[in-house]
């Protein structure tokens, strides 16, 4: 008991041996180095290059103006001022515009019917504008629709005021009727509101998760191939050595990845000029359980991998599944419960939300406590499972060896 409390069971020295052995294994293996270090550092720059332009600008739109009235021209004039769209072609018929849309020359069509001006002039009329959006990308649709809607609301208010004034109301009263409660809108957190600012933080966390995952699977597969008995330390009782091996190996991954995570999650957002309002010391503290949970999660999975490369072949599509299951690009409220509960077992889910809350939204570590605690629980849970799996595989291996001897 006394020994237990003096941490004798940890046998720091032996843990140290495992730790340095694992570091050597990593740095002598070009395949693992490519994944751990090259991929981790190159990927963020590639994604930043792809999502360089934050805003979707100047989407070409075709105009079909059958009313040919000052009113429709005024609408178009206002709309052309919006940065999102560019009125690139004026067509005489819908067929012509559809042709352009089909050939992807334009991504939207705005159509004013013949009676547009007449309906507006009629004090009881209602005018309609038709908007056709290319759905090949949601971002086209969003930009075209929202900017047209903005112009529409503005024009509508002016028309309403005119009509109320015709009815003999004074302008002040008409305004209070039309817009009894004017509103201001503020987009919080990301000043540009661009796609990159939203996606890149989630991708940075995913890169850490997946490179660690594939790297550890590759190391596990290699050990299996070379028949190195990672899980047996000579002359010791297995139940003890399991702990030391797991801790020693994890420590080796941890020091590499803590540095990488500090670069990716603290330095790169500043370099890339994506939102970085989190406190660095809080972020660094948050990184610890995230890396640990990912390491032990990967160690558990790597037990099933038999070859160096098969892990990558088998698990490559997990990157997409983890990304979507976490509920970032598709909101978590809209994900079926079964998938949401499953996602709680993946460290990425908590890591990504926690990082976005802290770095993009400026939450403190205390505000992010749910994610922080969940990651510690996952780290602890996967640590125990990793130890048990190591113990069982070691036991199985020795049994096979004894069977062979007989």
């Amino acid at each position: 008991m006394k020994h237990f409390f003096s941490l004798q069971w940890l046998r720091i020295k032996e843990t140290g041996i495992v730790f340095t052995d694992e570091l050597k294994r990593i740095f002598r293996d070009p395949g693992v180095l490519v994944i751990f270090i090259v991929a981790t550092l190159v990927y963020p720059f590639l994604y930043k290059a792809i999502y360089w332009n934050e805003q979707i600008k100047d989407i070409p739109v075709a105009v079909v103006d059958c009313s040919q009235s000052p009113e429709s021209r005024e609408f178009l004039h206002h709309w052309a001022a919006a940065p999102d769209v560019k009125l690139s072609s004026y067509c005489t018929s819908m067929a012509e515009a559809e042709h352009l849309l089909r050939d992807q020359e334009v991504h939207g069509i705005i159509y004013f019917p013949y009676d547009y001006a007449a309906q507006l002039a009629d004090p009881f009329g209602q005018a309609h504008i038709s908007l056709y959006c290319d759905m090949s990308s949601f971002l086209y649709m969003k930009a075209i629709y929202l900017s047209a809607n903005q112009v529409m609301l503005e024009s509508m208010r002016n028309i309403q005021i005119d009509r109320y004034e015709q009815m003999g109301m004074d302008q002040e009263f008409a305004w209070s009727l039309v817009q009894d409660a004017p509103y201001t809108e503020t987009a919080l957190f990301s000043p540009t509101g661009g796609y990159g600012s939203f996606l890149i933080p989630a991708v940075l966390v995913l890169i850490l998760h997946q490179t660690l995952f594939f790297g550890i699977c590759m190391l596990g597969g290699t050990a299996r191939e070379e028949n190195k008995q990672l899980y047996i330390m000579p002359g010791r009782r297995r139940s003890y050595s399991v702990l030391r091996i797991t801790i020693g190996r994890a420590a080796a991954y941890f020091i590499i990845y803590f540095a990488l995570a500090a670069i990716l999650l603290v330095a790169l957002p500043r370099l890339f000029d994506i939102p970085h309002v989190g406190r660095p010391e809080d972020l660094l503290r948050f990184i610890v359980p995230y890396i640990l949970a990912t390491i032990f999660f990967s160690m558990c999975v790597s037990v099933t991998i038999r070859n160096r490369e098969s892990g990558m072949v088998l698990l490559i599509s997990s990157s997409l599944i983890f990304l979507f299951m976490a509920g970032i690009s598709w909101p978590k409220e809209m994900i079926p419960d079964a998938w949401r509960y499953l996602s709680w077992f993946i460290p990425y889910t908590w890591g990504a939300h926690g990082f976005i809350h802290m770095s993009s939204m400026g939450a403190s570590l205390w505000t992010t406590r749910t994610e922080y605690i969940a990651l510690w629980i996952l780290a602890g849970g996967y640590f125990l499972i990793a130890c048990i799996l190591l113990f069982v595989t070691g036991w199985w291996h020795e049994r096979k060896k004894t069977l062979k001897r007989i």
């Binding site: 395949g31 290059a49 792809i50 360089w52 332009n53 600008k57 089909r102 992807q104 009881f124 009329g125 908007l131 056709y132 959006c133 290319d134 759905m135 090949s136 949601f138 971002l139 969003k142 629709y145 047209a148 809607n149 529409m152 509508m156 028309i159 309403q160 009509r163 009727l177 039309v178 009894d180 409660a181 509103y183 503020t186 987009a187 990301s190 939203f198 590759m218 070859n307 160096r308 490369e309 098969s310 990558m312 072949v313 088998l314 490559i316 599509s317 997409l320 979507f324 598709w330 909101p331 409220e333 809209m334 079926p336 998938w339 976005i356 809350h357 939204m361 505000t367 992010t368 749910t370």
Partner: protein, 390 residues
């Protein structure tokens, strides 16, 4: 004749290996089944309708409270939190519980009935795009609902009929027609490119693995020997069983997406399915090309994974390629998935004539020819086995 028998020998040898290791079936059929199931069930709703929002009620009158509860009862609105403190709502947003905040100012109702036009403030999170947008639309609806109701009340008192009032309140409307996806279904637009993309990813990785494994286990000479020392025979014989599996998966993927899941196809099913098969061949060919460039399994696998994963972003189906930097736009065309996506847009969404899909289809054929360029190098590697094994 001799060639054909040799091809058959190689294929037989390959079939044995294929069934000896569970990896091949797991990584192709298993992964595809799982991904299809996952992505089709993930967004069953398809459209994000309502997101949780908060109302900060600074007015704190019985009427503002009643207003909050009325809004809460509206089915299209999900008010998760009603509070008087903005910082509480902000913290809930930072915890990812809500996506938007509506602030009712002090004396809101008094000012409203006195026609003093009190100002309402919205705050929407930008850190989650879909959630934030949906919350924004929802907050707008909430304000317009209350505002419209108020206008209607005043006009009714003036003795107008409801029909006339409607046109007063909304003299101008925009009808949005979302071409080929009238429901604004996110799932249609995402899954119809992501699933073929995953299939392509599988083709690429497994092709690299199947060839690279021979190099790694130094069985490549025996393989060539079975093929009568003919490189083409060896390659064709080896790839036949895999190609067969991929093509079945491709046809199944098409049928599941566009028949069972009911994703719209305005053009021709045959042409779209043909494009998917071309895409599969292109990815397989890229696999042969990559292992030919880097005849070491681990390098080819790592580079292949990098290349195929970038395909999802570079295909431009989420973030349009036309908005990328010019240099990056050029890179897009190096990804077969980009060309498949272009054909998909033409065929499924636009119902465009075949001629529009010709260029991307030819590009896919071009990828198929690419594998020939590294044939001499790969052939040498198979014979001499002069590359690192690990």
């Amino acid at each position: 004749m001799n060639y054909l028998t040799n091809i058959w020998h190689v294929t037989k040898r390959e079939l044995k290996q294929m069934f000896a290791r569970p990896l091949y079936m797991f990584a192709s059929v298993g992964v595809m089944l799982l991904s299809t199931f996952f992505f089709l069930t993930l967004m069953r709703g398809g459209a994000a309708e309502k997101m949780p929002v908060a109302v900060v009620d600074k007015d704190q009158t019985s009427i503002s409270r009643r207003l909050c509860h009325e809004m809460q009862a509206t089915p299209s609105v999900d008010i998760r939190l009603i509070t008087s403190s903005f910082s509480e709502a902000r913290e809930a947003m930072q915890q990812g519980e809500i996506y938007g905040i509506l602030v009712l100012p002090e004396n809101f109702y008094d000012n409203l009935v006195a026609f003093k036009r009190p100002q309402v403030d919205f705050y929407v999170t930008n850190a989650y795009t879909v959630g934030g947008n949906t919350a924004y639309k929802q907050l707008l609806t909430m304000v317009n609902l209350t505002s419209g109701a108020f206008q209607r009340e005043v006009l009714r008192k003036k003795g107008m009929s409801d029909d006339v009032i409607m046109h007063r309140i909304q003299p101008l409307t925009i009808e949005a027609h979302m071409i080929a996806n009238p429901w604004g279904n996110y799932s249609v637009y995402l899954v119809s490119t992501i699933l073929p993309g995953i299939l392509g990813l599988i083709c690429l990785m497994l092709t690299i693995f199947a060839i690279g494994y021979e190099l790694k286990m130094q069985t490549s000479r025996e393989w060539l020997h079975t093929a009568g020392n003919n490189y083409m025979v060896a390659m064709i014989g080896k790839l036949i069983p895999y190609t067969f599996v991929y093509l079945i998966l491709g046809v199944a993927c098409h049928i599941i997406l566009f028949r069972f899941a009911g994703f719209p196809v305005y053009g021709s099913h045959v042409r779209l399915m043909f494009a998917l098969l071309l895409f599969i061949f292109a990815m397989e060919s890229m696999g042969v090309f990559l292992i030919g460039c880097l005849p070491t399994l681990r390098d080819a696998i790592s580079i292949g994974a990098l290349y195929a994963m970038l395909g999802f972003s570079l295909s431009g189906f989420t973030y349009p390629a036309s908005n990328m930097l010019p240099a990056v736009q050029a890179l897009c065309y190096l990804e077969p998935l980009r060309h498949y996506y272009l054909i998909y847009v033409n065929e499924a969404l636009m119902g465009a004539p075949t001629i529009n899909s010709l260029t991307p289809a030819l590009a896919l054929c071009g990828f198929m020819l690419l594998s020939i360029t590294t044939a001499p190098r790969l052939h040498k590697a198979l014979v001499y086995q002069n590359y690192p094994l690990k």
